[in-house]
Symmetry: C3
Subunit: 654 residues, 3 copies
């Protein structure tokens, strides 16, 4: 089903009924409202004005639309900031207060703001919690966007001290855990603890990792307060949040999702591709400039699907050019429809476009909507109509229990470690993860994600592009799953407080593989090393570990100097380096063959995805591509030859 994001407060009240009717006529089911309207809910301190919102919701509800209401905490009003300036966060790099004038100008550690967020959420939840047309809630908006998770404020410092006290109980324990003796960094009490910023040179990785964990916990604590209120006052309604990628926020989305009914994702293929490929040469970037990269957003879909039990929405879907990337191209004709169906193919339940109508004012006035500011349909409109017709044809049922045969283990702390302990400027755990995901997708595989503490059972293969500080139970669970496990270099690199593990890395992973990492060398990205596997030489990059074999393991690939590059024992494989994508694809192909997982080599811009008994093929290329469908495939949409920027869907008679 499809939906749309709507801002009644941006438009004349006399337009609302017409808007609602046109949404319904178009075939939309859901409408999201209200996430930035605090200054209208409460125009003066303590003075609520809900009349306009009552009328807006009633208008939408009467038109037969299902409403997703929001808490407005992403945009506290000016009077609140002026009254309580301690709400504002402090930039950890510059030490400057980050002021009013845009959005997200609040510190997750401000007790004042937590209290005020509870107050406005309660006011909305009490008034609208049982509104007939409201079927669910979105908390806040794109939480921790604009690098707002980390703050160097006095509030953050105090809350961090409390967090440390709760976790380490006595200061000697903390000093020892963090290795504070190293540079006389010992604290005598929790009150002495600083935020790990603005020091003369780098602060301790244990200190920084603790702050990252604190920050993520604090965001979750802040968020949960809203969830609890909504649960209490709005029975029977779902609660979700519209996430952006955790690479941008640095928080643990899995923890946040524990309290949610499902996760939502805001999907902007062109903006994301522009930012992600900003440093790539035009020859690589240009083919996807107006289509988005075929793997990057689906990588984020599959991640999001894993956050809360396999169910997810696209809460905001790009409907035309956006405004916030370095450059903002217009999508090629057909891409709005393609992206919409692609989200469904990857398991989305709802795709909701952002936004109903392009605003002619303020920061996002160059961001397209389904309508233009003058109320005429934009180019997206007929594509949405087509997508709606096609979705009706496909008649997709929810697939809550569906599982791929391949999973990628997603360890948010591996990202944090990479950002906390340099050692190689070019090391990026998120890039490794994308790289491996792309390798799997080139083989036509569906891919699930599981969190580090998730359930690996039932997968044939679990790819582990990084598992920074695993505990024994996690490693045992992985080992017991029976899946083939492929670990990237730097897995098991640290014990919990970012110390080297007992007996050297990979620490707890020695349960599975009798190896020791005796030394780590890193290399500039333009200085790769050769790596030989099955008589073929691949390139390996950035991270090179010296492995000592302390038991029976099979050395399957070696670096140029003869040292082990890939070792295997039973179901577990460990790589001492970070090879190019071709190697990952070739190795994964053999692992799939070993487990009887069917693969098919796809060209770069053709991608497959199954949902239920349907197989979808998406052609991002500028030329037609043949879909690798079996001879007896029954095409539900399209045909074997898939036109450029088109798709096909088939079913194989059983």
């Amino acid at each position: 089903m499809l939906g749309v994001c709507y801002y009644p407060e941006h438009w004349p009240e006399e337009w609302w009924a017409d808007d609602a009717r046109r949404m319904k006529d178009l075939g939309l089911t859901y409408v999201r409202v209200g996430e930035f309207a605090w200054s209208r809910y409460e125009p003066e301190p303590g003075v609520y004005d809900f009349g306009w919102y009552d009328r807006a919701l009633d208008t939408l509800g009467k038109a037969g639309l299902k409403i997703v209401a929001c808490t407005p905490t992403a945009t506290p009003p000016k009077w609140l900031i002026d009254r309580y300036p301690d709400i504002l966060p402090v930039d950890p790099i510059t030490g400057q207060v980050r002021g009013f004038g845009s959005r997200r100008h609040y510190d997750f550690s401000s007790e004042t703001y937590l209290r005020e967020s509870i107050r406005i959420t309660t006011a909305l939840a009490e008034r609208y919690g049982k509104h007939d047309a409201i079927v669910g809630w979105q908390t806040d908006n794109e939480i921790a966007c604009h690098d707002t998770a980390l703050s160097a404020s006095p509030n953050a410092r105090r809350a961090f001290q409390d967090w440390c006290r709760a976790k380490y109980v006595d200061i000697a324990t903390l000093n020892k855990a963090w290795g504070n003796i190293f540079w006389s960094m010992e604290y005598r009490s929790f009150e002495e603890i600083e935020v790990p910023f603005l020091a003369v040179t780098e602060t301790s990785p244990a200190h920084r990792m603790a702050f990252r964990r604190f920050t993520s916990d604090r965001v979750a604590l802040y968020h949960k307060a809203q969830v609890d209120i909504l649960r209490a006052h709005s029975p029977g309604r779902f609660i979700t949040h519209n996430f952006i990628p955790p690479t941008d926020t640095g928080i643990d989305n899995y923890t946040m999702c524990r309290d949610l009914d499902f996760a939502s994702f805001d999907n902007y293929p062109l903006g994301r591709t522009d930012v992600w490929m900003a440093k790539r040469p035009a020859s690589e970037f240009r083919p996807y400039m107006r289509t988005g990269h075929p793997d990057y957003c689906t990588f984020l879909f599959d991640q999001t699907r894993s956050l809360a039990g396999g169910k997810f929405w696209i809460m905001e879907q790009q409907p035309g050019p956006v405004n916030w990337a370095g450059h903002n191209p217009r999508p090629l004709p057909g891409m709005i429809r393609l992206w919409t169906l692609e989200a469904f193919a990857h398991g989305a339940e709802v795709v909701s476009y952002f936004r109903w109508r392009q605003a002619p004012f303020a920061q996002e006035q160059m961001h397209a909507g389904l309508l233009r500011p003058d109320r005429t349909p934009s180019e997206a409109w007929p594509e949405v109509e087509q997508a709606l017709r096609e979705l009706k044809t496909l008649d997709l049922a929810p697939v809550p229990g569906a599982k791929a045969r391949i999973a990628i283990l997603y360890d948010h702390e591996a990202q944090w470690l990479g950002e906390t302990e340099r050692q190689a400027d070019s090391y990026s755990h998120p890039d490794i993860m994308v790289n491996w995901y792309m390798a799997a997708r080139r083989l036509g595989l569906d891919v699930d994600f599981i969190p580090a503490d998730g359930d690996p059972n039932g997968y044939d293969i679990v790819l582990v592009p990084g598992l920074a500080m695993p505990d024994a139970a996690t490693v045992k669970r992985l080992g017991d799953s029976g899946a083939l496990l492929l670990f990237a270099a730097r897995s098991g690199a640290k014990a919990r407080d970012v110390n080297l593990p007992e007996g050297l890395p990979p620490g707890e992973l020695r349960q599975l593989l009798p190896i020791r990492v005796t030394s780590v060398g890193t290399a500039r990205p333009d200085c790769p090393e050769g790596m030989v596997w099955r008589n073929h030489t691949y390139q390996a990059f950035t991270w090179f570990e010296a492995l000592e074999l302390v038991g029976e393991v099979d050395v399957q690939a070696s670096l140029a100097d003869g040292s082990p590059a890939l070792v295997r024992k039973n179901n577990a494989l460990y790589m001492a380096t970070l090879p190019e994508q071709d190697f990952i694809a070739d190795l994964l192909e053999t692992l799939c063959a070993e487990r009887g997982v069917p693969t098919v080599r796809l060209p770069d811009d053709l991608r497959l995805r199954r949902r239920g008994d349907l197989t979808f093929a998406f052609n991002y290329a500028a030329v037609a591509r043949e879909a690798p469908a079996p001879a007896n495939a029954h095409f539900v949409l399209g045909s074997r030859t898939v036109a450029p920027r088109d798709l096909a869907v088939w079913r194989v008679p059983s």
Copy 2:
């Protein structure tokens, strides 16, 4: 006539008379003095010491030199800053106070500094306003240089609030005009308004544009206070200011010039070329490293000429290597003379060298003068002598009413819009303007500039590289002028408060062209699109608009996907994109032909310019070039074959 900038306070008093005599003997007419000497005029608070200045002025005057005196407000002394620290500006990017120790350490919004500036200006004007040798005044120095226009100080905030109150009267009007509801950015009173800096993410473009307008107004207000005092106390003397390019200051020089008798420009061809071409490859830069780029400074001459009725001076002329660019080459032999005559060819009345003698101390000790620190002549000296001889030969009369047949419309707000609303990181209105100027100059055309509210009448062609937020009257005036009008993409993009105009862009331009911009896509500079005009394919960059034709228009060029790239109705042409310079030149050639404006294709480093009945040809090349003079041309200087870095001047018998 020629002049020079002189700093008696830098030298022993016993040198003054000799200096004055040598200036006169060389043939100089004007001498500018006194713009950085506040600490000598007023060595202690309220204690003036004018004796030395009396003697300096008398010495210069008695030698027969005409003096341009200055207000010294670019360098408030230390005691003033210590007494009133609120004079200092605050950096809008870092939030840091910008301190004493160089120059321009004042905030245009400081009422204290305005008062003190009035005080010192009054003291000087009262004492010297009727001095026999003083023929004119320069206000301040290179106002708003070093990014000093914008400040995030409390003073700036208060003054901005007042400006907003004056402009919008009630806060609801401002909230609506700026679209503040968008992210709950509504203010309840003018006192709540913030400066648009140091927020969590981008502030509203309306907010930022208002601040830009406020800033420019504030600079003009500050400046006018000095002009008013000088007018009152110094009758019969001209008042001017030495401008730097508005790209550097971000202010509206036209407004400032309303109060001036003429504009002056500080001309540093090598420094400017180094900065402007800093990212160009050596192959492009190197030919002009020691000559300056043949179009860049003349572009600035022609702009400056437009500021105040066609009259302008070069107040500071580079006489050798400077000190402030990334690298500072020595001019090639002959260039000082060439630049001098070039300024006159473009209409200058006076060229005044900076400076008489190289200072052996402080920030600019590596900046050449006409003399070396040891009082010996520098390399510039004989070139100045030659220029003086040649100017005598040419006997140039003022050309106040002279007009080119081509004009470029200069809209300072188009620059501000490009800096305020990103949408494309590579969009630069000033670069587009230079690009179009160069296209015209490649055709041998003289070019005028007119401001957005200027008079387009009498021009055959008006090029509009951007006209961001035109009102109806401006568009009507352009249309009524009868000139062929070529509008660049993004013209008419916004209504006055940086909102999308009614009926979509190009808003008021629909008076002339029945089109609507329904969507805007932008592209990385390394991802151009093809554009076809008259069966030839050109490259188009950065900005791509989808045009809807809502009436009769002629589509003259198309993008690769067939969409309109250039449309025309009657005299108005509009481009949906930003094509390469070759296209502008080719198109302009046809427009010139249509209007009977003669053109000639010039090589890149040969340039023409007419003044009165003289035609000048300047050869920047390392090889000789043939001047495209008619067979019957009478050469006043040089000959048909123009040597490298040389020039020729001819008259065609009528």
Copy 3:
């Protein structure tokens, strides 16, 4: 002899004896301890706890190790900072306080910290000054590392004012010396003087140079306080300091060394090479990625050797991968041994590895040691064993009076001038110095360094890559030495207060060469000029001076425009530009021939160095190289064919 850096406070006390025994068994002589342990010496304000340190020192001493004890002032404890926040320095670029959490969080101008440093140093010196096992002291640690020399704190401002008062006595003298009239920058009293940071645009070079000199003096003053205490309380023990390169600290190491017995250097070939070659293409960098560059660290050895009478130690020697460079490769097998012997070849008395055992916690946990965190030997261990065996074979005697025939004059103020007065963004005095050093090393020459006020007598050739502000005595001393003198462009550029010298540059150098620099042009590094010497054309870069010949000089090379590029009179040669390394090598070869200094052209990765009667050859190449030993050479280590990353040592029978 070899040593090691050890941190008893990082390890369980029960390990200490075993550690000491293993050090001794390995063959180490020295152990450095205690430089970061303040929080253990004084866990609470004024409460000392020396028991653990007593036991540690006794354990080490009893094992027969010689102890180098340290003052712990690089890491003041948290309670001290909280009690006296004015200890913290202020970043001169951002204006932010640089806080606690890493190391070196102190301001050299804080009187509080000076007092506290004296207190803790006295406490340690009194208690341990006569400890049997302590043979010497190291002050602080890598003083001024992490850009801590410069501070914009109120303390720094006050101390700078005092320094100015002491130097200039009255404020009028300072104003004149600095040329403060230039932009009305005149001060009325020393209390008005600001630090030269955070101004609107660049502050005066005289102001900045004064601050650099003040800073260096202040560091020396701070440091001397410790030296004086140690001298008083610890008779018969040496005092040294472990320097890092002065390019990183910006201080004058020669002045600091006046109070020391010898200088020490911390030698990290891979980290240094990564940082130094960060912008070089992989093709240049990669060959040295895992060996270090063959000239860069030896350049620093030879510099360090010059600091205090020819005697120096390597106090910290890289023993495997480090953690602090952009990328941190593992040394190739053999390099630890090669680097060790190379240091001795260049005159080191002791090489002390950093560190005994890799710490499993805190900032440097990825930094290798001789032992791994689990107490097993790292890869360095057998190489240290080999080096020890070989050193025994070589039986090196101290060579206090040994002198090379070539010296490079090292003028720290030439570095400061290049950083203070831009004029050419690409000008780098340290790079010029390295470049010339490499040219000499390509000729197989041993090279000494002498400071600007050092003794040039006894050298055949003195290379002067820069001598910014020489006084008459320095020039006379150079001239009188009889050495051939080769001066780089910009030598003699300034008088003492960064003013242009009387009669123009090269000022005092005119004692030797009758030339005047009448104009200076600079050029982008990608825009070199041709320079002809002996019919061969070389490239010259960045800096181009116009020389006026005011007496008899021999023009030996010219630029493309015919102007002098190299002039000579008697023993003095002056270059008007900065030629490529090939030219320096070719010219130097002829100068050596003139003086009968033997040279041999070496391939880039083979280097020679003599110590006593031994000649060492080090082969950094991936292939074997022939050592250029005479036929009758007696090989003490290795043989004529030197394997990759191997070395040979020979003696020539006399």
